[in-house]
């Protein structure tokens, strides 16, 4: 009996339902949105604390015994992810208060927002492979609707690619689950891990692992499966982009890490080699995409792709230190990236554009925003002593320790290019003087916009300062992942 495990799923669901029932009262919905995320964050922290003290926790939903019923299972990694979901949710919910247009709010923005969180948290907590599929779908459909909510042309064009490619991933995932059940007769992941050891079909097993790799790889936006992301992430309102950037691809990575530390560990050589190659290519193609862009949100979208490569690097290296690096990196990148999207949103508010060529003068007029940009931006580029530095250090450390020099070189080179493209934003939007013919300021801002950005920026600093204990936490999480 452990209600903590179900709360991160139920709280968003109940919030969503409540928001659904007060459909026409926007202020109430907004308040509910914030309250719901606060509660989710609280539940996540309580869960993290409980697991830190007592170890991995499971809950048999419906009281049906393991492995017959659906098991919810939370280790430190799950709990960290739930906390991150709560943080990003809170930031985006508060930001939405000050930025979401009334029309979108009238058409279910807040219920969708929380349905999305529900799916995300469900995916983090489930210990059942088919249940994971269900949560993926909850998350997906909610993200589909959020993506196109508003029906602007760009949203629809991007949305179609987003929907198609993600459904392709779902179909692959479903097929893989079907085969898995057909071969083992099991759905519970612990049970599966046990039974897969006795399947004497290495070819089939590896092929199956590849199906999972591709299905989750599409959702995680790795090379060469990432196309849906840069095509669509810049089209919805920035609060939605921030929410997506913080959570959606990360669920894909989470699933990859889960499946490849738990289920497919027999024939690791082929798979880990593939994962490392994918990791390197993802970093490089993503960052080059970012370098080519001159629109803030597009640039940041490509960076999401690039950063996913680092997470995969941790998985591909497959040592406790490397996985700990991936976990740490996850926390870092989720917060930093959401902060950057929100900063972009504020810049858009102030200048009426996301185009770097037309932006400018923000350093002079809004030094506060400059600081709030610089912190997550430099963190993303891995500059010390911010969160990104320790995340990078952990991965570089693990890579050098295992003598995987190529991937380390790529990781370091890409961080330089990350710095380059971040400073491109800095130079163009902040340092460059505003031209005379450029658009006038578009609108005002409110504390609801600044508060989440400031909070997230502060977190990237805090994570850097508290890197020691947080890395210990990551290490424990990695050890749990590896069943140590």
């Amino acid at each position: 009996m452990d209600v903590l495990l179900i709360l991160p799923i139920l709280l968003p669901l109940l919030t969503a339902v409540a928001a659904l029932l007060v459909w026409n009262r926007r202020p109430v919905q907004g308040a509910l949105g914030v309250l719901g995320t606060v509660a989710l964050l609280g539940a996540g922290l309580a869960l993290l604390d409980a697991i830190w003290r007592d170890g991995v926790r499971t809950l048999q939903v419906g009281n049906w015994p393991d492995p017959f019923g659906i098991t919810l299972s939370a280790d430190l990694f799950s709990a960290i992810m739930v906390v991150l979901a709560g943080l990003i949710g809170l930031a985006a919910a508060v930001y939405s208060l000050g930025s979401m247009d009334p029309d979108r709010e009238r058409f279910g923005y807040y219920p969708l927002f929380h349905f999305l969180l529900m799916g995300v948290c469900g995916a983090f907590l489930t210990g059942d492979i088919f249940n994971l599929y269900v949560w993926f779908e909850v998350m997906l459909i909610a993200s589909f609707v959020l993506m196109v909510l508003g029906g602007e042309r760009a949203q629809l064009e991007g949305g179609i690619k987003y929907v198609t490619l993600n459904l392709m991933a779902s179909a692959l995932f479903l097929a893989a689950v079907g085969i898995l059940y057909g071969v083992t007769g099991a759905l519970n992941m612990a049970d599966l891990a046990h039974r897969l050891r006795y399947v004497e079909q290495p070819g089939l097993m590896t092929a199956l692992a590849v199906l999972f790799l591709v299905a989750f790889g599409i959702k995680a936006a790795v090379f060469p499966l990432f196309f849906w992301l840069p095509a669509s992430y810049h089209t919805p309102p920035v609060a939605v982009s921030a929410l997506f950037s913080g959570l959606l691809t990360k669920v894909g990575v989470y699933a990859l890490i889960r499946v490849f530390t738990r289920l497919f560990v027999q024939d690791a050589g082929y798979l880990h080699a593939i994962i490392l190659v994918i990791a390197g290519l993802t970093m490089v193609t993503g960052v080059l995409g970012a370098v080519a862009q001159t629109e803030v949100r597009r640039l940041l979208s490509f960076h999401i792709v690039s950063q996913i490569g680092y997470l995969l690097m941790g998985l591909g290296l497959f040592t406790p230190a490397a996985l700990a690096g991936a976990v740490f990196f996850m926390a870092h990148v989720v917060l930093a990236k959401a902060a950057l999207f929100l900063v972009g949103g504020i810049a858009h508010r102030l200048r009426g554009t996301y185009d770097l060529k037309k932006l400018g003068g923000l350093y002079r007029s809004h030094p506060g925003l400059a600081v709030l940009f610089l912190l997550p931006a430099l963190s993303l580029a891995g500059l010390p002593p911010l969160s990104g530095f320790f995340a990078k250090l952990a991965l570089v450390w693990a890579g050098l320790e295992t003598r995987q020099f190529a991937i380390v070189a790529v990781a370091l080179g890409v961080s330089l290019l990350t710095l380059f493209s971040m400073m491109k934003i800095w130079n163009e939007a902040f340092w460059k003087p505003l031209g005379e013919n450029d658009p006038p300021p578009a609108g005002g801002t409110s504390p609801a916009l600044w508060l989440p950005v400031a909070g997230l920026a502060a977190l990237t600093v805090l994570i850097g300062l508290a890197a020691g204990p947080l890395f210990v936490l990551s290490l424990r999480a990695a050890e749990q992942l590896l069943g140590m």
């Binding site: 009996m1 209600v3 139920l10 109940l14 339902v17 029932l21 939903v61 419906g62 009281n63």
Partner: protein
């Protein structure tokens, strides 16, 4: 002429279909059927009603916005699971009344859950159908 036949037919069919849907819903635990298919039957009934008498009339007959049905259905489904939590059991543990009714068999929270599914499906289908019809 056609619409007359249709509306007459619907007048008699509509209550029948509603009854049938409840039947499907309730027998689902023991025979093929259940909340999903039951909900679809209701949705079909209302679709016919809307074709015969128009969407506004169908909406009036329904009485509530279908969106509310979705919310209530979800709430019922979750609530059925939360009852066991209140009793200190894991989420969604089935709770059963001691007595068994003739048609239904035993009464329990899974049945409540299925009713939640039923309501959600009605709400979802009608939201889609009404919105499309009003295009």
């Amino acid at each position: 002429m056609f619409s007359l036949i249709l509306s007459t037919a619907v007048r008699y069919l509509f209550p029948l279909m509603m009854l049938f849907s409840v039947f499907i819903l309730l027998r689902g635990h023991n025979e093929p059927g259940g909340g999903f298919v039951g909900g679809l039957v209701v949705a079909a009934a209302f679709s016919f009603y809307a074709i015969a008498y128009g969407v506004p009339a169908a909406r009036r007959t329904l009485g509530v916005d279908p969106r509310v049905l979705i919310g209530v259905g979800l709430l019922m489904a979750v609530g059925s699971g939360l009852l066991s939590v209140l009793q200190g059991q894991p989420f969604m543990t089935g709770l059963w009344a001691g007595i068994a009714l003739p048609v239904l068999g035993k009464l329990g929270t899974p049945l409540l859950f299925d009713v939640g599914v039923y309501l959600v499906v009605i709400g979802v289908m009608l939201t889609i159908i009404f919105t499309l019809a009003e295009e």
